[in-house]
Subunit: 383 residues, 2 copies
C-alpha cells in the first residue's frame, strides 16, 4: 500500500501514517517546505535534508515558464535538476494561474493566460498539466483546479467546483492513458509511478465541499487535498472547512491541506486528521526577519535584542541556534547581510519540521491533545 | 617565532610560510575572504571552514558603526559574535574612511568624519583605532593609515605617507602601552597577543614607497602590508609596486598585499614574495553571477548555459560543483533566487582557497613558475 495508517491518536482525530512514493517514504503528518521555482528560498538541499525535510513542494506553472520543461527534462527531471533526491510534490499551478497570471480565460476545456513575467500566451488543458508534472518527474501530481477568491458567491463557487471535478476526472484519465500508452520508460509497479491527488474545492459552502469530496472519491484518487483555503478567509472558517472536509475523506487515503499554515494552523488541522501541509510562511517570514520559536514569534530587528546573546530559540538545536545569537542575527538584518535571512529561514524550516516530528511522536503516544495544549501554552506565552 | 619561513621557491621569489596568531596557524601564501560587516557575504562560517579558509578579514570602521563595539565586546569579541574561531585580521577602516565616510577632515592628530549611513560624527586617533581592534579581539591589527586616490600628486602622496608612518608609530606605542598597562586580561605570551602590521603607502612613487618601507622597518612591526593598491591604477603599475615594495621588506616577516585581487594578480604577487591577500572579488562576482573557473571566468546568466549540465568548473569539487549544473545556476540567477548567489559565492571562495593551496604545493616542490604558467594557460584559454 502506498499509504499506511500506523496509528490513530486516542485523544483526537490526528493520525500517524506513512506514504510511500517513488523517491522514498514520508512519515505523516508532514510539512512540505515550498520550493516554487525549484529551490526552497535561501536554503540548500543539504540544509533541507539536515533539517529533516522528507518531501518538498514545487510548482508546475512556475517551472513551465522558467526555466521551461525542456531544460528540466534534459537534466533528467526536477530531482536531478535541483539536486534533491527525496520526494517532490508538484502543485499544478492552478492557484498561480488564478492569482498571478494575466488575462486568464477559463473554459471547460482549460485555461488560457499570459505569463506573469513576460506576457507570453499559454493554454493549459488538465491533460497538459499532468503531462508537465510527469516531465518534471514529480512523485505526487496535483490536477489543474479552478480556484476562487474569498469571499465568493455560491453560484460562482459551484461552477468552479464542478469544473474542478471534471478536470480531475480528465487528469486521472490522462495519467492512466499515458501510463499505458507512453509508459515505456516507466515501471508498471504502482509503487514507482507518480501519485495523483484529487482537490476538494467549494469555497466556504459545506454542501459544495461535500458534493465535491463525494464525486472525487467516486472517481478515486491516491490522496485528497483540500484546496481553496488560506485565501483570505477568517481562521475559524479555515478550521471549519478543514475539519468538515477531513471527516468526509476516506480513512485509508492521505489528506493534504493546501497552503496551510502557521504553527497553530498545523496543530489545529492535524487534530482533524490532516496528514500533509505546505506553506511559504516559514521561509517568507524568515526572509523578513521573523522567527518562529517555542515561545512565539520573534522579530529579529527588535531593538530589545541588540545585546541579547541567547539563540533565537534556546530549546532549538538547528545550526542557527547552535551558533548565533539574537544580537548577531539582528546585526545581520540591520546591515542587510544575506546570512541573516538564510539563518532565520533555516531556523524556521527546522522549527516547522521539528514541530511535525513532535506531533508524530505525540500521536504515537496517544497524547496529541495534551501536546497541542502544552505547545500552544508556551507558544502564546510571549505572543 | 610567529612567522616561519618554510621554503623558498627556487624558480621565483615565492615563499612558503606559516604564521602563528592567537586563534591558530595560517599557511602562507594565503587568501583571506572578506567579511567586512562580520560576515563573509552570503556564506556561513561552516561553509568557509569547509572551503579551507584559514583566516578571514573584517573591518573596524564598519563594525564600530554597526553593531557598535559594546555589542561585540559583550559577546566576548568578534570571534564569538560571528561564530568563527579561526584567525581574524581586522582592517583599520582607513580605506573606508577615505572612500565611504562623509565630510572627513584629516589632521596629524587623526581623522574626523561622518558615518556613511547615519551621518553621525566621529573622530578617530590612531590610538582609538588600535583600541577598537583590541576590543574586537582581532588576531592581526592594522594601524590607521591615510589612503590617497589614483592618480595622486606627489606632494599630496608624500604628506599622506609621512602621516601614515607617524600614525603607525603611535599605533605601535598604543598597542604596547595597552599591552603593559591594561593587559590584565591578556597574556604576556607574545604568541597570544594580537600582531600589528605596518602599512607601506606612497602611491605609485617608488622613492616614497622606499622611504615609507624603511621607516616602518626601523620602527619594527610583526608584518608589513602594501596599501594603496587596487585603487584604480593599471595592472602593470600594481604589479610593479608590489614587486618593488616586496623586495624592500624583511625576509623574516609576513607580507600582505591589501585588497588584491584577481587570480592573475594573486599569482603575479605571490611570485614576488607576497604572503597574504584579501579581496572582495570572489564574493562580489559571485553575487553578480560571475564564476572563476580553471578555464577562466564564466557568466552564469549566459544563454549558452541554458542547457549546459556540466558543473561550473568540472575540475572543482566544491559543494556547488558536486551538486549543481550551469543550467540550474543560470535558472536560479534568472529567477533571482538567493541560492544562486550563495552557490557561486561559495564556488568562488573555494576556487580562490584551492588556488592558494596549489600555490603552496607548487612552492614546496620548487615549481611555482611552471605552475603559474600552466594555470594561466588554462585560465586564459576561454577568457
Amino acid at each position: 500500500m502506498m499509504f499506511t495508517l500506523i496509528h490513530q491518536d486516542k485523544t483526537s482525530k490526528a493520525r500517524l501514517g506513512k506514504l510511500a512514493v517513488a523517491h522514498g517514504e514520508i512519515n505523516t503528518p508532514c510539512f512540505m517546505p515550498v520550493g516554487t521555482q525549484g529551490t526552497v528560498k535561501a536554503l540548500s538541499p543539504q540544509e533541507l535534508e539536515n533539517s529533516g525535510a522528507q518531501i518538498i513542494l514545487s510548482n508546475a506553472y512556475h517551472l513551465f515558464l522558467r526555466p521551461g520543461l525542456e531544460v528540466i527534462k534534459k537534466a533528467g527531471g526536477l530531482h536531478n535538476f535541483m539536486s534533491w533526491q527525496k520526494p517532490i510534490l508538484t502543485d499544478s499551478g492552478g492557484y498561480q494561474i488564478f492569482s498571478l497570471a494575466l488575462l486568464r480565460k477559463v473554459s471547460d476545456e482549460g485555461v488560457s493566460f499570459q505569463s506573469h513575467f513576460d506576457g507570453l500566451k499559454h493554454f493549459f488543458t488538465p491533460q497538459d498539466v499532468i503531462s508537465i508534472q510527469q516531465d518534471l518527474g514529480s512523485d505526487i501530481v496535483m490536477p489543474l483546479d479552478e480556484c476562487v477568491h474569498y469571499p465568493c458567491a455560491k453560484d460562482q463557487a459551484e461552477v468552479a467546483m464542478k469544473r474542478t471535478i471534471d478536470w480531475a476526472r480528465r487528469s486521472k484519465k490522462a495519467l492512466g492513458s499515458q501510463f499505458s500508452v507512453f509508459g515505456g520508460h516507466r515501471t508498471p509497479d504502482t509503487e514507482h509511478r507518480e501519485l495523483l491527488f484529487g482537490i476538494v474545492q467549494g469555497a466556504t459552502y459545506e454542501d459544495l465541499r461535500k458534493t465535491c469530496a463525494e464525486r472525487l472519491i467516486e472517481i478515486g484518487f491516491d490522496g485528497y487535498a483540500i484546496g481553496g483555503v488560506s485565501v483570505g478567509e477568517p481562521q475559524n472558517l479555515r478550521y471549519n472547512i478543514a475539519e468538515f472536509v477531513s471527516r468526509l475523506l476516506p480513512q485509508e487515503s492521505p489528506r493534504y491541506l493546501m497552503g496551510v499554515g502557521t504553527p497553530e494552523d498545523l496543530l489545529e488541522a492535524a487534530g482533524t486528521g490532516i496528514d500533509m501541509f505546505d506553506c511559504v510562511v516559514p521561509t517568507r517570514y524568515g526572509r523578513n526577519g521573523t522567527a518562529f520559536t517555542s515561545i512565539g514569534k520573534l522579530t529579529v530587528r527588535n531593538a530589545l535584542f541588540s545585546q541579547d546573546y541567547k539563540p533565537l530559540d534556546p530549546s532549538c538545536d538547528c545550526y542557527a541556534c547552535r551558533n548565533f545569537s539574537r544580537a548577531y542575527l539582528r546585526h545581520l538584518f540591520n546591515t542587510e547581510e544575506i546570512l541573516g535571512l538564510r539563518l532565520v529561514s533555516l531556523h524556521n524550516i527546522y522549527f516547522y519540521l521539528q514541530l511535525m516530528q513532535k506531533v508524530r511522536e505525540a500521536i504515537r503516544q496517544d497524547r496529541f491533545m495534551a501536546f497541542k495544549k502544552e505547545f500552544l501554552s508556551n507558544y502564546n506565552k510571549e505572543g
